[in-house]
Each structure stands twice: as C-alpha cells, then as structure tokens.
Symmetry: C2
Subunit: 155 residues, 2 copies
C-alpha cells in the first residue's frame, strides 16, 4: 500500500492518511499525451503538450502550444494574466482595438489580466509557444467567441 501511494506521488502520514509529497519532480518530454485544442476555444489544428501533469498542483497551467498555419485561439481573457515564450515559427497576437503584431522565436508576450486578445500562427506559417497561464480562484481563462476569418486577416 505504501509502495502504491509512493508510486502515485503520494506519501503516507503517520496517521495513515495520504498527503501530497513535497518532492522535486522531473517530467521528461512526452510524459502526457498531446491534447488537440477543442473547436470551442480554437480554430484550426492546435496541439497542446502540458509541461506538468494535471495531477501536479502549480500556480500556473503551462504548456507548449503548436498552431498549424491559420490556426488561432478564440478571443479570450485571463483572470491573472499569461506569459508566452515563442519557440518556433511565426505568429500573430492581437489585443482588441489594437493592431495585430508579429511574434517570432525569442519574443516573450505578456498579456495582463482582463485584456481581450487572441494569438496563433500566421496564415502561411505555423508557430509554437510556451504558455504560462497564471491561475486565480481555480481558473486560468475566460473564453469568448471564435476569431472570424475576417478578423484574423485584418491587419
């Protein structure tokens, strides 16, 4: 039983009740199957690799997100903000009411809490970014309407 709990990342307390182990974890690439972005929150093909398993409690949800050409998030806001670290390709980010901006590898995007925006690949090229999405009261995003083709192409 103790072994099972330990294998599950838990330890037994003296009283026998399981408690979350406070141990440093190393998660290799591929520890969790890739998730495909759902059609309510994304347009086009979007692949999401979680950086830590969902069973591990962290102050942000974090993933590597890969957008096929033309793919993008829906419009959305974050209750505690989001940081993007672009790792590959060429993409676009747009804040409502502002010009679309090109993002490339090495760029870091800071999206403050409550700012309506979308991000994704350009029409011709894919794009990957790490997304560090800070959690507030158990929530990391408020999803809104999909980005229409017209809005996506508007410069």
């Amino acid at each position: 039983m103790k072994k099972t709990l330990m294998a599950a990342g838990l330890t037994a307390t003296l009283a026998g009740a399981p408690a979350v182990a406070q141990t440093v974890d190393v998660f290799p690439s591929g520890h969790t199957p890739t998730i495909t972005g759902n059609g309510q929150n994304f347009s086009g093909h979007v692949a999401i690799d979680l950086l830590t398993p969902s069973s591990v409690q962290t102050p942000s949800s974090s993933g590597l997100v890969t957008f096929a050409p033309g793919a993008r998030t829906a419009w959305h806001t974050h209750p505690a903000g989001q940081m993007l670290i672009v790792t590959a390709g060429t993409g676009w980010v747009r804040q409502e009411g502002q010009d679309r901006r090109v993002i490339k590898p090495g760029d870091v995007v800071w999206i403050p809490a409550g700012v309506k925006h979308w991000h994704g690949a350009t029409e011709s090229n894919g794009m990957s970014h790490f997304a560090i999405t800070y959690i507030q009261d158990g929530k990391n995003a408020d999803w809104l309407e999909l980005v229409t083709d017209e809005d996506y192409r508007a410069q």
Copy 2:
C-alpha cells in the same frame, strides 16, 4: 508629457494621474542586459536573461538561466514553487536528502514550495533552463549556503 508617459508604458487617466496600461506587450530577445549571477547565490559563471523587464508586474519572475560547466545555484527554497524548462546542455538538480538527478533539454522540473534544493550544470557540460519562479508576498526565493564542491560532486 502624455507621449513620455506612453513611451514609459504608462497612460494618463482623465484626472491626470498615471496608471499602469493594460496592454499586451511583446518583448524581443535582448530587451534587457544579461545579468551575471552574484557570488552569494551562485557558484561559477551564471548568466540570467529576464523574460520580462523588472518594471512589468507578473505573478512570477521569469528568466533564461545559463550555467557554465561546474556552475550552480546555492541551496535555496521557493515560497511558492518554481518550474524549470531545460532548453540546452546537461545539468543536475538535487533535493536535500535525495539523489542528484540529470536533466536534459525537454525536461520540466517542478520544485514545490519550501523544498531545499540546488540546480546547475554538470561538471563537464553547460546547461540552460527557463525558470518560472512564482512570487508570494513579494518574494520568490529564500537563499541559503553555497553548494560546496564536495556536495556538488556527490552523486
């Protein structure tokens, strides 16, 4: 004056008092000079590139940290935990009382709050990782003693 405030990333309110602008920011690589890790908290040569300027308030302090061969942090803990994303080279991470572990590109390390540990390059190879260090009550780390050569080499 308005232009100066806007250039500084601030906007003027109707009353004329400056307020932090809620805008999406894109920070290109090299926006801030590289910092060299100080000798109280690091052994050997450590270069830190902040992902966002220190003037921007985010729920974590985030940087790309590059350790020369043999370089490492001091022993330390984090009040709200830390996530490392290894991007290059080969490194070691060690939790007090546990075996040293090898980390390589693609590995993600989760260090829970309050766990005493160190991380750095191996003796023969450099290592780079993104470090997402969550802030609690204005603090992101409690620094302890330097890692002795003996402790560093112990497997």
